[in-house]
């Protein structure tokens, strides 16, 4: 099983190449954009492993939640590669990937969603599998009164340290392409890969603008 994974949902940009259980990764903190690096990194990893693009069994990407622009960067590059190679795609939850990086146990993952909100989800990690105990939601940090798991991680706890309850905090946890690849590989083996067009970001925050009618109802102007 060979697959290429992209993760650009946070300011940590990464690309990973999964080769039959071994994983190569390039990762850097790039707050503005990863567009200059994603494909060059992918080519470098493939060259390092001596794998041709056409030998890939599929692709994976961190689908979300996370920064919208980043989600689409990874999704767009993945869609293009996958459609061009005629290979399947596995979209992977960024919060599940972050959880995997924490190791075994139950973890509450929280990423900063800006606009005074967080993306929050609860996961159970056992080896290479992550099960979702509570699906990702986009909520104000103050809305969560009690930590739903014994450990927690994610940059939401840095941005909203005062507002969020805290259990045992694991610092520096991020969704990474290596974790995306580890989660995607068994899914791909089970035949769960999607056609490139069906591989879409998971935004979670779906209300992004008010219609004219809604603005007027709130006393706004046309």
């Amino acid at each position: 099983m060979k697959l290429l994974a992209f993760e650009t949902s946070t300011r940590w940009i990464s690309v990973a190449l999964w080769c039959d259980g071994a994983c190569l990764e390039r990762r850097e903190e790039l707050p503005n954009s990863g567009s200059e690096h994603l494909l060059p990194w992918a080519h470098a990893l493939l060259a390092e492993a001596g794998v041709a693009l056409t030998q890939l069994d599929g692709l994976a990407f961190g689908a979300g939640p996370g920064g919208f622009t980043g989600l689409r960067l990874a999704c767009g590059v993945t869609q293009g590669l996958a459609w061009g190679l005629d290979k399947p795609v596995v979209p992977v939850s960024t919060l599940a990937a972050l959880a995997l990086n924490a190791g075994d146990g139950d973890i509450w993952t929280v990423l900063d969603a800006r606009m005074n909100e967080v993306y929050s989800g609860v996961y159970r990690v056992a080896g290479d599998t992550v099960s979702e105990l509570s699906p990702p939601v986009c909520v104000p940090p103050g809305q969560i009164a009690v930590s739903p798991a014994p450990t927690c991680g994610g940059d939401g706890f840095i941005s909203y340290a005062e507002a969020l309850p805290r259990s045992s905090f694991i610092p520096d946890l991020w969704p990474t392409a290596a974790a995306v690849a580890r989660l995607a590989a068994p899914a791909l083996a089970r035949g769960e890969g999607l056609h490139a067009a069906a591989a879409q970001p998971l935004y979670v925050r779906d209300k992004v603008a008010l219609t004219t009618a809604e603005r007027l109802a709130r006393g706004g102007v046309r």
């Binding site: 954009s33 567009s35 200059e36 690096h37 994603l38 494909l39 060059p40 992918a42 080519h43 693009l53 919208f68 622009t69 689409r72 960067l73 999704c75 767009g76 590059v77 993945t78 869609q79 293009g80 590669l81 996958a82 459609w83 061009g84 190679l85 005629d86 490139a196 067009a197 879409q200 970001p201 935004y203 992004v208 603008a209 008010l210 219609t211 004219t212 009618a213 603005r215 046309r222």
Partner: protein, 344 residues
Amino acid sequence: MLVLGIESSCDETGLALYDTDRGLLAHALHSQVAMHEDYGGVVPELASRDHIRRLIPLLEAVLTEATCTRKDIDAIAYTAGPGLAGALLVGASFAEGLAGALGVLTLPIHHLEGHLLSPLLAAERPKFPFIALLVSGGHTQLMRVNAIGDYELLGESLDDAAGEAFDKTAKLLGLGYPGGPALARLAEQGQAGRITLPRPMLHSGDLSFSFSGLKTAVLTAVRNGLGAGTQAADLAAEFQEAVTDVLAAKALAACKANGMRQLVVAGGVGANRRLREKLDAAFSHFRGRVFYPELALCTDNGAMIAFCGAQRLLAGDAPVVGTGTFAIRPRWPLADLARPVLTA
């Protein structure tokens, strides 16, 4: 050489296949107008979300129409700017990923260069050099086009673009979004001159435009009760007359000042019937000629991007192949565009 063109700079997803020998083989467009209508304007985030859903279905449609396969594609041209950052990034990411998979080169294209060259896709085309009037919701510019990649800005709007003025005025008259075409239809029922509006900068002696004052004059007229019934139609007619008077006069002046008799009109407002009537009349009197893109290619589209990429390839432009490094340019002055570099 078969060039795939991808346009996603604003609220239209356009894909096309242009063959350097056989011409335009297929183009497909999805307009988001209906989606943004409820919001009274383009919502950039929603635009981006839609682009990433549409790209592959549209790509498959153009390949089917052209009876080509992915392996026939020799190069991918995509709009790298200017435009909405998030929307541009969708097209750029997909194009670069696809190019990586197919092992073909990419051509990041300037959106306005696409518009400028779009009349060259028509059966009867102008010869270099010519003057171009670019009028859309985002731009009002007069350019001197000497050759592929050799453009000189002669004048532009100091504030609102002509299409933007149309849309904002339509909003003032309660015509919804995007109101430009609706305003033009309302104008057909009215008579210009019954209400008088200024012709901003008509006698400024240069090739600059300004349309925000005109919009304010309409607002004043609406506040004075002239925004309803037959008076609304008269106001719309006068507004359209004012905008097209200025556009036509400056386009003619630009040709005269540069000793040219060919004018190319591009951009959505180029579809306006009254503008075409005035330009045709003025240029026929002047023994000049006006060239328009096909109506379907007046709006944003993938065909102009594929065509522009093909022209750059033919002109000897040699883009960097295979590195996969890319960046979008939401603000990209056309004057920064380099001429094609001839390489051995």
